[in-house]
């Protein structure tokens, strides 16, 4: 072992200070503490009945009961893998999914319960909850396709291969579907939509939105959608057929949410949240 040569008291104090700073810099984040702000927001959800805002990062999920001023860490315990998606069911069930962790459900006691059922692998990279059916969710496994459960994660059925490279899934109850709603997919090749009978996937917004990163719809008017890409933020008032550009907040948007009040929330690659009360015209940081 190489000894650090000492050349007097000042030198020893300086050395100890440098060692202490280096040790603090290398110490991993402790459980229960706020995650580093450099982690991207991968999912947002809002429980209107309880006024609870939920934010998911790759290694943690947080809940806020005061509109984002303070946050409680609620897990899940992750030994390997990461959270890639967050879903809130019509019955206020909280689910997360991600490669290496599969699908997890937040139990009433704060524990996390497996929702993997008979899924063929834990490599779930996208998840969404049916807008109206409390026990129905959709999960995407890249090597297999889109699975659906109707019992909250006990039994999963492979429904469709889906378009390639799905990064986000969103179920909407926009009227006009032959079945019970629509599935929107953020893919590496852009936005795609299908009725939830999986009858036909078609590209939308290809002329204005490249490299989409997030999508959300207004629960008060399911024909209104917001989508984000590396190049900005966009709004549609006809289910995604046509889009207009908005001024995005000062972050690279990785997650979007429209609350029941119409408030638009954007989560960024830097972990920060922004809120718009005027349909995306102006933004303010959440928590300030």
């Amino acid at each position: 072992m190489t000894m650090i040569p000492h050349r007097g008291l000042f030198s020893r104090l300086l050395t100890l200070s440098l060692v202490a700073v280096a040790a603090l810099a290398l110490e991993p984040a402790a459980q229960g503490q706020e995650a580093p702000a450099t982690q991207a927001v991968v999912g947002l959800a809002y429980n209107a009945a309880d006024n609870v805002l939920i934010r998911a990062l790759p290694n943690a999920v947080f809940r806020s009961r005061d509109e984002g001023v303070t946050w409680d860490h609620v897990g899940p315990p992750i030994e390997s893998g990461a959270v890639a998606a967050l879903a809130l069911t019509a019955g206020a069930g909280v689910y997360v999914a991600g490669p290496g962790i599969g699908v997890l459900r937040l139990g009433d006691n704060g524990d996390w319960i497996s929702g993997n059922g008979d899924l063929p692998s834990l490599n779930v990279t996208a998840l969404t909850a049916h807008a109206d059916q409390p026990q129905t969710l959709y999960a995407y496994i890249p090597e297999s396709g889109i699975f659906r459960t109707r019992d909250g994660g006990g039994v999963w059925q492979l429904m469709d291969r889906g378009p390639p490279d799905i990064r986000r899934l969103l179920h909407s109850n926009m009227p006009g579907s032959m079945e019970t709603g629509w599935l929107y997919a953020v893919t590496g090749a852009g936005l795609q939509v299908s009725m939830d009978c999986f009858c036909l996937w078609r590209a939308i917004g290809a002329d204005v939105i490249a490299e989409a990163t997030a999508i959300a719809f207004d629960p008060g008017d399911p024909t209104r959608f917001f989508a984000a890409s590396d190049s900005g933020l966009f709004r549609s008032t006809n289910g995604g057929q046509d889009w207009v550009a908005l001024v995005p907040p000062a972050t690279q948007i990785t997650a979007l949410l429209v609350m029941s009040s119409g408030t638009l929330i954007a989560g960024g690659a830097d972990g920060l949240l922004f809120r718009s009360l005027d349909d995306g015209v102006t933004w303010e940081a959440v928590g300030d």
């Binding site: 009227p175 006009g176 032959m178 079945e179 009978c197 009858c199 036909l200 939308i204 289910g239």
Partner: protein
Amino acid sequence: MTKAPVFLSLAAIVVLIAEAVAQQAVPPAPDPAVVESGTGVYRQYCSSCHGDQGQGAPDWQRPNAAGDLPAPPHDSTGHTWRHADGALYQLVMEGWRDPFNRTDRLTMPAFADVLAPTDVRAVLDFLKTLWTPDQRLSQFELSRTDPYPPEAR
């Protein structure tokens, strides 16, 4: 009385019940007379849009010049089998407009004033003959909770 005959009787009952359950899990064979009637309905009212063999309009997955999706296939290459009997019946009777179409026209016209309920049932039963066994089974399972309405049975 010995226990053996009782045991054998119970075993036979169990076997019969199991066979009955197994038969319930597969779609019933279509009535040939209904299918023949449905074939005629299809040729007269459906084939001009959905193709004489149920193959759909050319390039049905892309919007046409008017911005509307053309008629899809009804055979195994389409998605008709993904809908329950009740949903298909309603769609034929009431028509449907794809909200992603650019025109205001109905994507699928309504036939309530044209076809009797049993005619709609017949043409749908004909379409089922164009599907694979797995597709028929899947559609049969869907239809358990959304069957034909009483007037079409």
